[in-house]
């Protein structure tokens, strides 16, 4: 197992390096730099101030020099300083990682679990009214833009009914600690998680439905039915494990895309997450934060893919980790 892990890491290092150099050069191609964005925020500045800032940030050096300086720092795991946030990049990333991970993991959890269950139900009653209703609802949620869904939920649950907060990750100023804090954060995450998961739910539902219909036709299922296995036992014990394989594959792929999709939800609900940070970093041309983010995302995706491989191997005994 350890050998496998090490082999994977070695394979991955050149990929990450290429991604980072590519991102660096791509961002440098975009017109303007951090100081331009900063000056735009400030509403104006005189030439002396601008020149001073550029020198301070090392932006008056040629591009390849800047890249070399960055790479040199990176191999020592020094992610640099964010001039936009006035903090070390590592601090910025760590403070934003929590809300995004929480949002992503809970949305995916609900999307996969509820989606799979609905998919199983739909497959069981294929082509009936239940199936059609579930599929149509899935389609509606999938087709709705996430920002629209988010805003409509805010209008209904926060403004009209007043049940849930409008946005943010916690009540401020709050002096909650321990369980009160956990409940406060959970309350704030209900709407964003619901918006994000309703959209992805449809995907998993359809996939699970198709997968179950396929697996249900296989010989071993017929055998199990002949041996007397009833509806629920057949579905859960025999079919589900195999039907889940495509769903797990999609989950692994989706993890990367949901990181991008979280920008919209984080903006609408004012959550201090990585998605919003990435968007801001591009607009502000905050090179160091963007590079740090790319590195962090690459690491996350690799870890997730590794875990997915492990899950595969445990679900399907025909698959071996080589």
């Amino acid at each position: 197992m350890l050998n496998y892990l090490l082999k994977r890491i070695v394979q991955v290092v050149p990929v990450v390096l290429i991604i980072m150099i590519g991102t660096f050069l791509l961002l440098k191609l975009a017109p303007g730099d951090t100081v331009d964005a900063l000056v735009g925020d400030m509403g104006g500045a005189d030439p002396q101030v601008i020149a001073r800032l550029r020198a301070e940030y090392g932006l008056d050096q040629p591009v390849w020099v800047q890249l070399l300086v960055y790479m040199k720092k990176l191999v020592q795991f020094d992610f640099g300083w964010s001039f936009v946030h006035e903090q070390p990049v590592a601090t910025v990333l760590m403070s934003r990682l929590g809300p995004t991970l929480l949002l992503m993991l809970s949305s995916l959890f609900f999307a996969v679990s509820i989606g799979s269950v609905l998919g199983m139900i739909a497959a069981r009653k294929a082509y009936s009214l239940t199936d059609n209703v579930i599929s149509t609802l899935g389609l509606i949620f999938y087709a709705t833009p996430s920002f629209f869904l988010g805003l409509m939920m805010i209008v209904l649950f926060s403004v009209k009914l007043g049940w849930l907060p409008v946005g943010g990750i916690q009540t401020i100023p709050s002096f909650y600690s321990g369980w009160d804090y956990v409940i406060d954060v959970a309350e704030h995450l209900i709407l964003p998680t619901a918006s994000l998961s309703l959209i992805y739910l449809a995907l998993y539902m359809r996939l699970m439905r198709t997968s179950v219909l396929e697996v249900a036709d296989l010989d071993y299922v017929r055998t199990a039915r002949a041996k007397g296995a009833g509806g629920a036992r057949l579905m859960i014990h025999h079919i589900a494990r195999n039907a889940l394989l495509p769903v797990i594959t999609l989950l692994g792929v989706q993890f990367s895309t949901i990181l991008g999709g979280s920008v919209v939800i984080e903006t609408v609900f004012a959550l201090p997450g990585l998605g919003q940070l990435a968007y801001q970093a591009v607009i502000q041309r905050d090179m160091n934060v963007l590079m740090g983010l790319v590195f962090l995302s690459s690491v996350l995706v690799i870890v997730v893919n590794f875990l997915i491989d492990l899950i595969y191997a445990s679900l399907d005994s025909r698959i071996e980790l080589s």
Partner: protein, 533 residues
């Protein structure tokens, strides 16, 4: 629906004016209640909370409550905050401020002239945007005693200019916390220490800033009324409007929500909506010309373009009536420096077409006389919609305008460094005195790449001289006359069209009392604000 819009804007404006007139009378009858937490909406995060390194509204909205300037502007004129008196010598090269006694920084140390001298020389002169041009001739700040600051200039500095600039550009910092440190990396840049009614408590990135009552505030034990202020960062404007309606925030300023929501909430009895409190924060929507383009270098073409713009219609539809037609670089909030006795360009498409014919730009077989590439500034609703309005208006007179999309750094580079545009529209804020940040639009000679300066390839030596003379004229009356001449010349030559002047707009819950009672309320200290709930 032209009939509807015709009565909507005037009645809306009339209703707001009436409400504005009523409001002071109501407020005066109620006794302030002590306590409560005020929630402000911030649409974007400035990330640096130091008004002596960053001159911007987003910074003042937070730090104005914590760090105070020497002078602030009220409806009764310029009033001393950390300064009590000011005077100028005959030759204008020495300006003396008497400083307030008995004021302490939030860490308990006394506020003295040393702080003013240090901040002026190290920050106002070297680091603060716009201030470094203003203070470029500042030689030294002497402290004959701990409560007198003497500013010595190598060239005459008009007192009215310096006083007008002080509310935004005159915040002293505590010397004992900044001396000897790396100024730009000093931790107090995100944890400010000032003399103001509120003390900084916490800055949670991406979420909020909290400040609480300063129990030792120099104005007296009764101030401030509020216990605490919280600024919440909500980047999505629709979510912010929802937060206002749900009562989670009390005020959204600087047009923090969409114009459609502003209009909707102006009819909601729970909110005060208006431009009161923004008289010091007026901006122009403009059309800027790249004079390197042969067609735009021709004054007839520029005048034709001005005649092709139905300004009144734009004001009704884009600004929903919260604006006025511009009369030159200096807006009506410019006080004695303003004049509207200038050449005016009525909306007259036929005249526009005639001028274009005269200049030699006749319509081709497809009806197009001229093609222009236009860069809109990406700052907000007004700039985007005004650009689209411009493009549509120009189509009517046979000019085909292509709108380029760009984000902030691309826009700034495209216009001010690479000069890669034919026309552009921006949002130009007027900062109390024309010499601070407005004349730089017209005077030639700014280095290439300086944003918000004359990068248009326009050079008028007569205008340059008028600008320089006005910047150093000490007599306020004479100075005002000089700016009137500049206003007239700019409207004759139209190097830039200063099309529409508009203040910002706030939506405030009626629970907030004494709100918007100064011409720069959102940037000011809120020491007398209280909550009735």
């Amino acid at each position: 629906m032209p009939e509807l819009t015709r009565w909507l804007a005037p009645s809306l404006l009339g209703g707001l004016l009436a409400a504005g007139a009523l409001f002071p009378a109501l407020a005066a009858d109620e006794t302030p209640k002590r306590g409560g937490t005020l929630f402000y909406h911030m649409v974007s995060e400035q990330r640096v909370l130091n008004p002596a390194t960053r001159a911007s509204n987003g910074v003042y909205e937070i730090t104005g409550k914590i760090v105070e300037p020497l002078i602030d502007r009220t409806y009764d004129g310029y009033v001393g905050v950390l300064a009590t008196e000011w005077s100028s010598s005959e030759d204008g090269k020495t300006i003396t401020f008497k400083l307030r006694q008995g004021v302490k920084w939030h860490d308990g140390k006394p506020f003295t002239c040393d702080d003013v001298s240090f901040t002026a020389m190290e920050f106002w002169k070297k680091l603060l945007n716009y201030s470094s041009t203003l203070q470029q001739y500042l030689e030294a700040v002497d402290c004959p005693d701990p409560h007198t600051a003497v500013f010595r200039y190598s060239r005459p500095m008009p007192l009215s200019l310096l006083v007008a600039a002080m509310p935004d550009l005159g915040h002293p910092l505590p010397k004992h916390l900044y001396e000897g440190t790396d100024y730009l990396k000093n931790p107090h840049n995100t944890a400010p220490v000032g003399t103001g009614p509120f003390k900084f408590v916490q800055y949670e990135r991406g979420q909020y800033v909290i400040a609480e009552r300063n129990e030792d505030y120099w104005r007296g034990k009764e101030y401030p009324y509020l216990d605490r202020i919280v600024w919440r960062f909500i980047p999505d404007r629709s979510a912010a409007a929802a937060a206002l309606e749900a009562g989670e925030i009390h005020e959204s300023g600087f047009i923090g929500i969409s114009m459609a929501d502003i209009e909707r909430l102006s009819k909601d009895p729970r909110f005060d909506v208006g431009t009161k409190g923004y008289e010091n924060n007026v901006a122009h929507s403009t059309i800027e010309f790249n004079h390197r383009n042969k067609a735009l270098a021709d004054i007839r073409v520029r005048r034709a373009i001005y005649h092709g713009l139905d300004i009144d219609r734009a004001i009704k539809t884009i600004m929903r009536g919260f604006a006025k037609p511009g009369r030159g670089p200096i807006p009506s909030a410019g006080g004695i420096n303003y004049t509207d006795d200038v050449k005016v360009y009525e909306y007259d498409p036929e005249k526009a077409k005639a001028l274009l014919d005269e200049a030699g730009y006749k319509p081709g077989p497809d009806g197009i006389r001229l093609r222009l590439r236009h860069r809109p500034a990406p700052w907000g609703e007004y700039t985007q919609l005004w650009a689209e309005f411009f493009a549509q208006s120009m189509r009517e007179i046979g000019i085909d305008v292509t709108l380029l999309t760009n984000d902030a750094p691309t826009f700034l580079n495209g216009v001010y460094r690479d000069h890669d545009f034919d026309t552009a529209n921006g949002w130009h804020q007027f900062r109390a005195d024309p010499a601070v940040s407005t004349m730089v639009w017209l005077r030639s000679g700014a280095p290439v790449g300086t944003p918000w300066s004359n990068q248009f390839g326009y050079k008028n030596e007569k205008l340059d001289k008028m600008i320089d003379d006005a910047a150093s004229e000490l007599d306020p009356e004479k100075r005002a006359k000089m700016y009137h001449e500049i206003q007239r010349l700019v409207m004759e030559e139209v190097p830039i069209i200063f099309a529409i002047e508009h203040p910002f707009i706030s939506v405030t819950s009626k629970k907030v009392k004494n709100h918007h009672n100064t011409p720069r309320w959102n940037s000011s200290s809120a020491y007398d604000t209280w909550l009735a709930e």
